[in-house]
């Protein structure tokens, strides 16, 4: 016989807390308690688990707020040893109250690392969920679906973000670790695992157009891209399938830019120059002006409707001749 509990995979801090209290009030050390996940493989040799009985009059555990926040966070982690680690930190913090502030402690270093992973997963979910439109609801609100695969049990963490941002539309986020659904009033969380749905949206094409066009082929930094957008996210993003093509085309695009000879300016440019010159009452201008005019241009706020800078050439003279180079 051993002391301990069997917990569902998605068990969070609120499920774990009363159990941990029970163990603590029974004065059971971290070594005496086994925290087993329901999905973990059990063997014939695994002893049945019994809950320890609290002792009457035992003093309840006390935790500092930063320690409580740390435990709350790591219990969203998918690591099956998280419950045991949390109980050990709870136990130790009774004699070392500042424990959570000591980032160099092995238990805390591990917890902080898990906390970081949970936070990152949460952040990436807010970044990489893609809603696809799926008709309208009966009351005319637009309706959207998304599929996402988080690493950890973070749906309750991200629910406030999505419900306060996408308020005027209905949406459902399906994941293998449960789902979130918003109807304009409430956000419902279900821990039931979902299967990947077939989703499509015509607007994805415009987004792909944007993604390709905003890419600069003359600067390739795939390492920077991969460190922020690891490949595990690619399969659910509408834009990433274009990356191999974009990279393959980049060298040719850069070579074409380098090989391109300067071309004569379009007719529009020349007309513009002429117009500028006629406002100036000056001889026909060319692109390369001689700086003949030396009179100083007074800085004014002029709102010329035709050309904002009728004194372009004079201003150039001002900038180059009267004023030595200076720090901006």
């Amino acid at each position: 016989m051993a002391y301990g509990f069997i917990l569902d995979d998605h068990s969070s801090f609120s499920t774990w807390r009363p159990l941990a209290r029970q163990c603590f009030l029974a004065n059971r050390t971290p070594e005496e308690i086994e925290w087993r996940c329901a999905s973990a493989e059990t063997t014939l040799f695994d002893a049945p688990l019994v809950a320890p009985t609290p002792k009457t009059g035992a003093k309840p555990p006390v935790l500092r707020s930063n320690c409580l926040a740390l435990l709350r966070s790591i219990l969203r982690h998918a690591d099956q040893t998280r419950f045991a680690l949390a109980y050990r930190i709870l136990w130790r913090a009774q004699t070392e109250p500042a424990l959570a502030s000591i980032a160099t402690d092995p238990d805390i270093a591990r917890a902080l690392n898990m906390h970081k992973q949970v936070r990152q997963d949460t952040h990436k979910m807010t970044a990489y969920v893609r809603f696809r439109e799926h008709g309208a609801t009966q009351d005319g609100r637009r309706s959207f679906y998304a599929w996402f695969e988080p690493d950890h049990y973070i749906l309750p963490n991200v629910a406030p973000f999505f419900s306060k941002r996408f308020v005027d539309m209905d949406w459902v986020i399906l994941t293998p670790k449960g789902s979130l659904a918003w109807n304009g009033e409430t956000c419902a969380f279900s821990p039931t695992p979902c299967a990947k749905p077939k989703l499509s949206d015509d607007i994805d094409q415009l987004w792909q157009t944007y993604y390709v066009s905003t890419f600069n082929p003359a600067r390739i930094k795939t390492k920077a891209m991969l460190s922020e957008m690891p490949r595990k996210y690619w399969k659910n993003l509408p834009e990433t399938q274009l990356i191999p093509h974009m990279l393959a085309n980049a060298p040719a695009r850069v070579a074409a830019m380098a090989a391109q000879q300067p071309r004569p300016a379009p007719a529009f440019h020349h007309k513009l120059q002429q117009r500028r010159a006629s406002v100036d009452h000056r001889a026909p201008p060319s692109h390369q002006h001689q700086h003949q005019h030396q009179h100083q241009h007074q800085h004014q706020h002029q709102h010329q409707h035709l050309t904002p800078h009728p004194h372009a050439d004079q201003e150039q003279a001002y900038a180059q001749d009267r004023h030595p180079e200076s720090e901006f």
Binding site: A98, S101, I102, A103, T104, D105, P106, A127, Y128, V129, E133, F144, F161, S163, K164, R165, V167, M169, I203, L206, W207, T209, Y210, S213, T214, F215, N216, A218, K221, T222, K223, A224, E228, M229, L247, V254, A256, M257, P262, R263, A265, H269, L272, H287, H299, H303, Q304, H305, T307, P308, H309, A312, D313, Q316, A319, Q320, E325, S326, E327, F328
Partner: protein, 421 residues
């Protein structure tokens, strides 16, 4: 409207929305700014509309390593200015296009609903006059906020010389405003952007600073001043198109941060563009130069360094491409080190190569309770190899390591073959 502009625009209106999106995002991509942070927190819980703002989220990354946080587009790439470095200058032969304000609003909202973006970064070529261009941009922002109850992020590029009334209205709706100084020196600007003027850009920045400061104040009656761009203003400098050294660039940044209280200065390595002007250099600067400038900028904003310190030891005013600027500074100021991990003040820990802001915070919290050893830093994911010549700790003294003449050799990266991706 300017008759020529009108003709030109009529010719371009035949393009599909997708074609124009391709042109007008391609034309906007040379502006590096994409941040969607710094505007505080807000959401749509009470207004029942769409959108929220918090710390800024990057929704995608392109293979150039840049993030996509905002829909970054131009209202039009048609421009009467002729700035040599710009893909949209009037003398360039690139295809021209234009969005209507309604199209920009539609794209922003539809992209936002699908969680592609945090909001809109709208800029524009100058088509008739500064005021006309600016008022169209302000209209987009106004309708997003008022008609569509959009509470996502809006960044508007300020058009030089736009009227104060338009600027005030822009600040009412936008989270951030920006105007690009483009070149680190006045001379550079005069050479490359004949129609732009350093004095006017500075004047606009000064105006924005006054507005931004005023918006944080209260009136004598205790009322709040009208909202004005709570995310502050930012700007961009092009690196490597002219002869300016890193020292010139950083001293320019210094006055921008202190004199105009800018939130961000972006450094954009000059990048080859289609149909480039003949006066531009043929070769772009190494991307590493841009990276080093950002590192120096980071040292100024978060590590308590002055820009002048960072470049002081560099005879040619250029940052060391082989070593990051913090390490280069430490090697040039060896007399300061080693320092005591358990006793040194925070400002000094921040100057140790290999220690970041987070690890310094963790060290300061932990050392109140325990004596720290060098190995403890490994738990904070700090590279021991990098920090050990600069620190004393319980059980550790760098000894001769700190005095070695060839300490630089410990850090200079070994030559390696270029990666093929």
């Amino acid at each position: 409207m300017h008759r020529l502009a009108q003709e030109h625009i009529m010719n371009t209106m035949k393009q599909s929305l997708s074609d124009r999106l391709a042109l007008l995002s391609d034309a906007a991509k040379y502006d590096a700014s994409c941040s969607s942070s710094g505007a505080g927190k807000r959401d749509s819980a009470a207004t029942k509309g769409l959108g929220s703002v918090s710390n800024g989220i990057c929704h995608a990354f392109t293979p150039d390593g840049r993030c996509i946080s905002l829909l970054k587009i131009l209202l039009t790439n048609f421009c009467i200015y002729d700035c040599a470095y710009c893909i949209n200058r009037s003398s360039s032969n690139v295809a021209r296009a234009r969005f209507t304000p309604e199209e920009v609003i539609w794209l922003t909202l539809e992209f936002y609903r699908r969680n592609y973006i945090e909001g809109l970064f709208l800029s524009s070529g100058i088509i008739r006059s500064s005021d006309d261009t600016m008022s169209q941009m302000v209209r987009v922002a106004r309708e997003l906020r008022q008609t569509h109850k959009f509470r996502g992020y809006i960044h508007l590029k300020t058009i030089p010389n736009a009227s104060p009334a338009l600027l005030a209205e822009a600040g009412l709706y936008a989270d951030r405003l920006s105007i690009n100084v483009e070149m680190p020196t006045e001379r550079g600007l005069a050479d490359y952007a004949p129609q732009k003027h350093a004095s006017e850009i500075r004047h606009s920045m000064g105006e924005m600073r006054t507005h931004i400061d005023a918006a944080k104040d209260r009136t004598l009656a205790g009322r709040k001043a009208p909202r004005f761009a709570p995310g502050g203003q930012s700007t961009q400098m092009i690196v490597g198109a002219d002869q300016a050294s890193d020292r010139d660039i950083l001293s320019s940044s210094s006055s921008l941060y202190t004199g105009y209280k800018l939130r961000r200065v972006y450094y954009s390595a000059f990048s080859p563009i289609p149909d480039a002007s003949a006066i531009l250099p043929i070769r772009p600067p190494p991307l590493l130069r841009e990276h080093r400038l950002y590192q120096a900028d980071w040292l100024f904003r978060f590590y308590g360094f002055q820009f002048s310190e960072i470049t002081a030891s560099r005879p040619d005013g250029m940052l060391d491409l082989e070593l990051d600027p913090k390490l280069a500074w430490a090697l040039a100021n060896r007399a300061v080190f080693p320092i005591d991990l358990n006793r040194a003040p925070k400002e000094m820990l921040l100057r140790v190569p290999g220690l970041g802001v987070r690890s310094v915070q963790a060290i300061i919290a932990a050392r109140r309770h325990r004596q720290l050893r060098l190995e403890d830093l490994a738990k904070l994911k700090v590279s021991l190899r990098k920090v050990k010549p600069f620190l004393y700790a319980t059980g550790w003294s760098p000894g001769r390591l700190a005095d070695q003449q060839n300490i630089r050799q410990l850090f200079v990266p070994h030559p390696q073959q270029l990666a093929l991706f």
